[in-house]
Subunit: 118 residues, 2 copies
DNA sequence: CTACTATTTTAGTTTAATCTAAATTACAAC
DNA sequence: GTTGTAATTTAGATTAAACTAAAATAGTAG
C-alpha cells in the first residue's frame, strides 16, 4: 500500500508523467492516449502504459476491442498532490504566456475575449 | 520554491536516493559519502552529487580542503516524508531479518540482549 | 616552490531506457 | 471462415544515463 521505490522510477520520465496527466481525471483508451501524443508511436505508448501499470500507477479495464486506462491516485501517495500542483502551474504558465503574446500583438487587446479567430 | 520536474528524475536513481539518505540528518564530506558506497568510484559519487545539487536537493559548503553536503528537505516537499518512511521501513525490515536470524540460531536466544560478540 | 590530500572534471566505455517498425494477439462485424 | 480495428509484443536501433580511469583543480602544509 505504501508506494515503493519503483514509483520514483515510474514518474521520472516526462512521457509517463504526461500519460499520467491524461488519465488523471478521465478514463482513456490506449488509442486516445496515443492521439494526444502524436510524436511517438502507438507501440511506445503501450510500453509506457505497461510500466505505469507494473508500478501500480494506473489500472486498466478491457471493453470490446478497447482497453481503458486511469490513474490510481492513491498509489502515488503524497506525490499525487505534487504532480497536480505541477500541472496546474504549467497551465498557469501557458495562460500567462498567452496573455504576454496578446499584449505583444497590441497592448489594447489585452484581456479582451477572443472572437471566432481572425 | 515549488519542486520542479527535475526533482523526479533526481530521486529516480537508487544511487542518488542512497546519497540523499546519507546526508539527510548529518552533513558529510564527499569523501565520507564515498566511503559509505565502496562499490563505486569517487568520481561517480561526485557526478551524482552535482546532479543532486543541480536539482536543489542538496547544498554544499566548502571548508578547508573538504566539501560538506547536506540534504535540503524542503526542496523535496511532500516527498521528504515519503522517503523517510521508506528508509524507516527498510530499517524495520533489517531488524525483522535480524530477529529471524536469531531465532533460527536458537529460539531460546530470541529477544535477549546481545553481549560483546559471541 | 613542492608534496600531499580532497574533490572535480573530462573523455571514453558500458549499461540501461526508449523508440521504431513489423509481427502478433484479441475482439467485432460480416 | 475473412476483413477491419485496437492494442500488445518482439527484435533491433537509437538515445541517454551511469560508470571508470586518468587528468585537472583547489586548498593545506611544509
Amino acid at each position: 500500500m505504501t508506494p515503493g521505490p519503483n514509483v520514483f522510477a515510474a514518474i521520472a520520465s516526462p512521457r509517463r508523467r504526461e500519460i499520467l496527466r491524461l488519465v488523471w481525471r478521465d478514463e482513456l483508451s490506449a488509442g486516445a492516449i496515443h492521439q494526444a501524443m502524436p510524436d511517438v508511436t502507438f507501440g511506445a505508448v503501450s510500453l509506457q502504459l505497461r510500466q505505469l501499470e507494473a508500478a501500480g500507477l494506473v489500472e486498466s479495464r478491457g471493453e470490446k476491442q478497447f482497453r481503458y486506462y486511469r490513474a490510481r491516485h492513491k498509489a502515488l501517495g503524497p506525490v499525487a498532490r505534487m504532480l497536480e500542483r505541477m500541472w496546474d502551474d504549467a497551465l498557469w504558465r501557458l495562460k500567462l504566456a498567452a496573455e504576454l503574446e496578446a499584449s505583444r500583438r497590441g497592448p489594447k487587446a489585452r484581456k479582451r475575449k477572443r472572437r471566432k479567430s481572425k
